[in-house]
């Protein structure tokens, strides 16, 4: 039986596992996982353990706090449960899940943790974790994503990463990387910590930088509140601004076609490809930030980002055999350019800043999607500025040289805007252009001179902005072959190759997290020591001891 469709759209009134409340500039995200509220049958979410469903709600809350609550300067993550903060990803759920579901789950939770850090760093909405009991595995990794970690000092509350000793796998949400790269825990201390199943508590946890502050449990709630309110007071978010509502993203399924207001996704099952057709603006760019605010979630760049984000999540989780995403656009490039100009002009406005940051995260989501990305720059397309980033994110791009016979659509052009030179860095900290032209950094400066120009296929070819520029005689075959060839390769091989090639340039904590995640998931998670019949993950909970192949590979 096919699994029920996973829907990423939710809102606080439908949360099963979190409570969201706000007071004095502070938001409180309180975890109280409903044991029987698992996304799929067969496991109970005991001890505040989580599955994808729990994390979908968390991601939604983080997103909403940014858009709906400009007055919130600090967010506290805490638990409702006595002496349990969070015991991490549910092991039984992992045991029942297919490999691709596990990987997708981990990828999404990683994106959610990064969204927490992005909110702290760029939106001045600082996350504080208040740990009242056991924070194990993913529970501690959630804490690691926060700016401050407060721990109850009661002699038993502990933080731990027990994955290696208990399950023979590794923390799946950046735990190891954040220990040494973010919290700067000494590697020998980290080594001891990660091999001690019960973790560390009290003074040693603090001395080793695993937590920031110890607080007696009877004072934990009040102290947390005080710390968060202090942080909130210092935040530069506009305390008197009003947020905009984020209603459910509208979408309709029509057979293999999925329609959003500015995006249509058509699935070609035979070629295992999904065609994303992004629509350009349908109305002129509003004059200023106040007008953006008035349009709210209907503002074209925001509406499109939300649609694209939802479509990607839907395809990642629910359409795992659709291995190639083909990116198209349709509209007026000048209109897109006008919206980019508005975003740049009003960059200091809190809402505009959030919209640009959201596009940044959405494009990063595209970067780390394990699908082949092919961009088609066709007549009538509007790959300008923000939308051009999709072409630059693609593994390969095709731009038609000239027009199709019998069509009155204008020849394809590409436009650079200021948005291509800074606001949308990739995980490696560089823009897509800078990453593309690592061999000739000065070329990026040359491109700046072409901002605002309608660049035709010849110019784009010369400037290196697209891969191939077939004419109308070759176009159909070239494109068809590219997509069909992709469908023939091993999906595993493609994922590995693509992610190796996509992230050239410097390492950041973010690139390390994703790279190591895929390395361990695709290797350690697949090895018999973890998932074989006598592997530790397989036997967890049965009382049987794992038998390891002792060879070091």
């Amino acid at each position: 039986m096919a699994d029920a469709l996973i829907d990423f759209r939710t809102q606080p009134s439908r949360y099963k596992h979190w409570k969201l409340s706000t007071e004095k500039g502070v938001a409180y995200l309180t975890m109280d996982v409903n044991e029987d509220g698992g996304l799929r049958p067969g496991y109970k979410l005991k001890l505040n353990s989580y599955d994808l469903g729990v994390d979908i709600e968390l991601a939604d809350a983080i997103q909403r706090l940014r858009f709906e609550h400009p007055e919130i300067g600090a967010v506290v993550i805490r638990s409702q449960r006595d002496r349990i903060f969070c015991s991490g990803a549910n092991i039984n759920m992992l045991g029942l899940s297919s490999h691709d579901h596990k990987v997708n789950f981990c990828k999404f939770t990683n994106e959610t943790r990064l969204a927490i850090e992005d909110a702290t760093e760029h939106s001045d909405q600082t996350y504080i974790c208040s740990i009242n009991g056991i924070a194990a595995g993913g529970g501690y990794e959630l804490a690691l994503a926060c700016d401050q970690i407060l721990l109850a000092d009661d002699g038993s509350s502990a933080v731990s990463l027990p994955e290696l000793p208990l399950l023979a796998v590794l923390p799946g949400t950046g735990g190891l990387t954040r220990l040494v790269d973010k919290r700067l825990v000494r590697r020998d201390h980290a080594d001891f910590f990660c091999t001690t199943a019960e973790g560390l508590r009290g003074k040693r946890a603090q001395q080793w930088r695993l937590v920031d502050k110890l607080i007696p449990p009877s004072k934990l709630a009040d102290e947390t509140k005080k710390i968060a309110e202090d942080v909130a007071r210092k935040s530069k978010r506009p305390k008197d601004a009003k947020g905009i509502a984020l209603p459910d993203v509208e979408r309709t399924f029509d057979g293999d076609t999925l329609r959003y207001p500015h995006l249509t996704v058509e699935i070609d099952r035979e070629r295992r490809a999904a065609h994303f057709r992004l629509g350009g603006p349908t109305a002129p760019a509003p004059a200023d930030a106040a007008a953006v605010h008035a349009q709210g979630a209907a503002f074209w760049p925001l509406a499109l980002a939300r649609a694209l984000d939802d479509a990607m999540m839907h395809l990642r989780l629910n359409e795992t055999e659709i291995g190639t995403w083909v990116l198209h656009s349709q509209g007026d490039p000048a209109a897109v350019e006008a919206f980019d100009a508005l975003l740049a002009r009003e960059a200091s406005n809190w809402l505009v800043r959030e919209i640009v940051l959201y596009w940044k995260r959405t494009l990063k989501r595209l970067d780390v999607s394990s699908r082949s990305l092919i961009a088609l720059v066709e007549p009538g397309s509007c790959f300008a500025g923000t939308l051009l980033e999709l072409v630059l994110a693609a593994d390969r791009s095709y731009m038609l040289d000239g027009v199709f016979e019998g069509s009155n659509l204008p020849a394809a052009t590409i436009r650079l805007t200021g948005m291509n030179f800074g606001p949308y860095p990739m995980g490696n900290g560089l823009t897509r252009l800078a990453t593309r032209f690592l061999a000739e950094p000065e070329h990026v400066d040359v491109l700046k001179k072409d901002i605002g120009q309608a660049l035709d296929s010849g110019q784009c070819d010369d400037l290196g902005l697209v891969t191939f520029t077939p004419d109308d005689i070759d176009w159909e075959d070239e494109v068809r072959l590219a997509i069909e060839e992709r469908a023939g390769f091993s999906p595993d091989g493609l994922i590995g190759m693509e992610s190796n090639l996509r992230f050239a340039g410097p390492e950041t904590m973010e690139t390390k997290i994703f790279a190591r995640l895929s390395a361990w998931q695709n290797w350690i998670f697949q090895r018999p020591n973890a998932t074989g019949p006598e592997g530790a993950l397989k036997l967890y909970g049965t009382g049987k001891q794992a038998k390891y192949d002792r060879k070091r590979a």
Binding site: D154, S156, T196, T542, G543, K544, Q545
Partner: protein, 472 residues
């Protein structure tokens, strides 16, 4: 000047030959004494108490009686005798020689088990620190002090293991055992039941009967441990634990006896009018203490218990006397559990249900005391029977915590249960009444509070009017 700890700490572990361990215990001992002074029996440091002190682990050595000031009690370290050929009786390591040192991969597991067990020992001393103020007799006062000293000794036994086998982490844990306190909101004891108050002597006797009996079963399972020093420690502790349960069993029996006497004499069930505790209230206390003690055995399906067994760190009760393969990977066990809100019997993997199995052994053992108490009632010619409530009654941990069940096992709605709870569990009024009976301590030798009968025999066969405690 250095104190000669080999003299101060009676032991059969050749302490004098291990300088490192001696130093560690030298550091710990003053902290322990500080703890005893501040958290032990209140205002008693000058009393001379007629106590039994273990001075060796053999049959003659474990019961030496004499007057002792409690802070001078010789808390010793005794392990039951060593069997050089002992092998691990169960699990993956079945048949291998018992470990004399902690295997590296089991270090944190064993440490956690020892800390959890060790934490209960000082906890109960803390829970009972005020009982001396309201003792119903010198005999009972002495008994609570004896129990307190022995719980202190059990703490020493666990601390010795932590110091001797677990390095720096062990020493830190040993200190934490003195830093957590029963009922302390900031540093509570590890297990919930050990953070409750023991406010009166009926609760104390029920606690020693039911909750210390959980201790017996935990110790008995640890006495099967593949880690030989732990097994030997626990085997010796079991001898002392038996006395604690005797205090509980005989204490309840004496209360029941006094109640029956007054019922017969005045031909009434309502003995409250005569300053005793009615059988219905005794039944309510029994219901409460039995149900919270059942929770101490943990979840019916327990990964930890299964791991402990397979690794060889914690066995079943009387493991070697059980006639099966002692590996259990293919075995099943029948347990009662909850399905769709009903109590159902299910066959489950034996390894995962070891907690439930131990709980079964415990329930069977609990029933024995009730037979004695009911004999007292029957001998008085009264028509009343004390009963163990159903194991699903009033549970907070495990499958039964999801449903509401009466003492006789009927499943009902939360509302129905709440409406009847006052008939099953002590109400505030019941507790206030029992507390009201707890007058100033009865300290005249041979005298007893009105609500409890004298014991049949004195400690160490002393006469009824023996001066068990001298107040100085």
């Amino acid at each position: 000047m250095a104190i000669d700890y080999t003299q101060r700490i009676p032991n059969n572990v050749d302490l004098s030959s291990d300088r490192r361990l001696q130093r560690a215990l030298e550091n710990w001992q003053p902290r322990f004494l500080d703890w005893w002074r501040t958290m032990g029996p209140d205002g008693t440091s000058n009393f001379d108490v007629y106590l039994r002190t273990a001075i060796s682990a053999d049959a003659n050595g474990w019961a030496n009686f004499g007057y002792v000031k409690m802070p001078d009690y010789r808390w010793g370290i005794f392990l039951a005798g060593q069997d050089p050929n002992r092998v691990i009786a169960y699990g993956d390591n079945k048949g291998k020689p018992a470990w004399q040192e902690v295997p590296g991969e089991l270090r944190s597991t064993l440490r956690r088990l020892i800390v959890t067990q060790g934490d209960t020992e000082p906890a109960s001393v803390e829970q009972q620190r005020l009982l001396g103020k309201t003792a119903p007799s010198l005999y009972d006062l002495r008994n609570v002090f004896q129990i307190n000293c022995e719980e202190g000794r059990h703490l020493w036994a666990m601390v010795y293991l932590l110091h001797a086998y677990f390095g720096r982490d062990g020493r830190e844990e040993a200190e934490m055992l003195l830093e957590r306190h029963s009922g302390d909101p900031d540093k509570p004891r590890i297990l919930g039941a050990f953070n409750e108050k023991t406010p009166d002597w009926l609760s104390f006797f029920m606690f020693t009967y039911f909750t210390d009996r959980d201790g017996k079963y935990q110790l008995a399972s640890l006495a099967e441990s593949g880690f030989d020093p732990l097994a030997r420690s626990c085997r010796f502790m079991l001898i002392e634990e038996a006395h604690h349960m005797f205090v509980g069993e005989s204490g309840v029996q004496r209360i029941v006896q006094r109640t029956c006497e007054l019922m017969k004499e005045h031909k009434t069930d309502d003995v409250r009018a005569f300053g005793a505790i009615d059988l219905a209230t005794i039944q309510k206390y029994l219901n409460f203490h039995f149900s919270v003690s059942l929770d101490l055995f943990g979840q019916e399906a327990s990964t930890n218990a299964a791991n402990y067994y397979t690794m060889g760190v914690k066995g079943r009760y009387l493991e070697t006397r059980i006639g099966d393969d002692h590996v259990l990977t293919g075995s099943t066990f029948d347990i009662d559990t909850v399905e769709d809100g009903r109590i159902v019997r299910k066959t489950v993997p034996a390894l995962a249900s070891l907690n439930e199995r131990l709980r079964n052994d415990y329930v069977e053992d609990c029933a024995k005391g009730l037979r004695l108490w009911n004999k007292v009632i029957a001998d008085a010619g009264l028509d009343f029977e004390l009963k163990l409530p159903h194991r699903a009654f009033n549970r907070r941990i495990g499958a039964f915590s999801e449903i509401h069940v009466s003492p006789d096992g009927a499943v009902m709605s939360a509302e129905e249960w709440k409406a009847s709870a006052h008939k099953w569990l002590p109400t505030d009024e019941d507790r206030a009444y029992v507390t009201s009976l707890m007058g100033p301590a009865v300290i005249e030798p041979g005298k007893f509070a009105n609500w409890i009968a004298p014991p049949v025999r004195g400690i160490n066969n002393q006469p009824a009017n023996f001066e068990y405690v001298r107040f100085n």
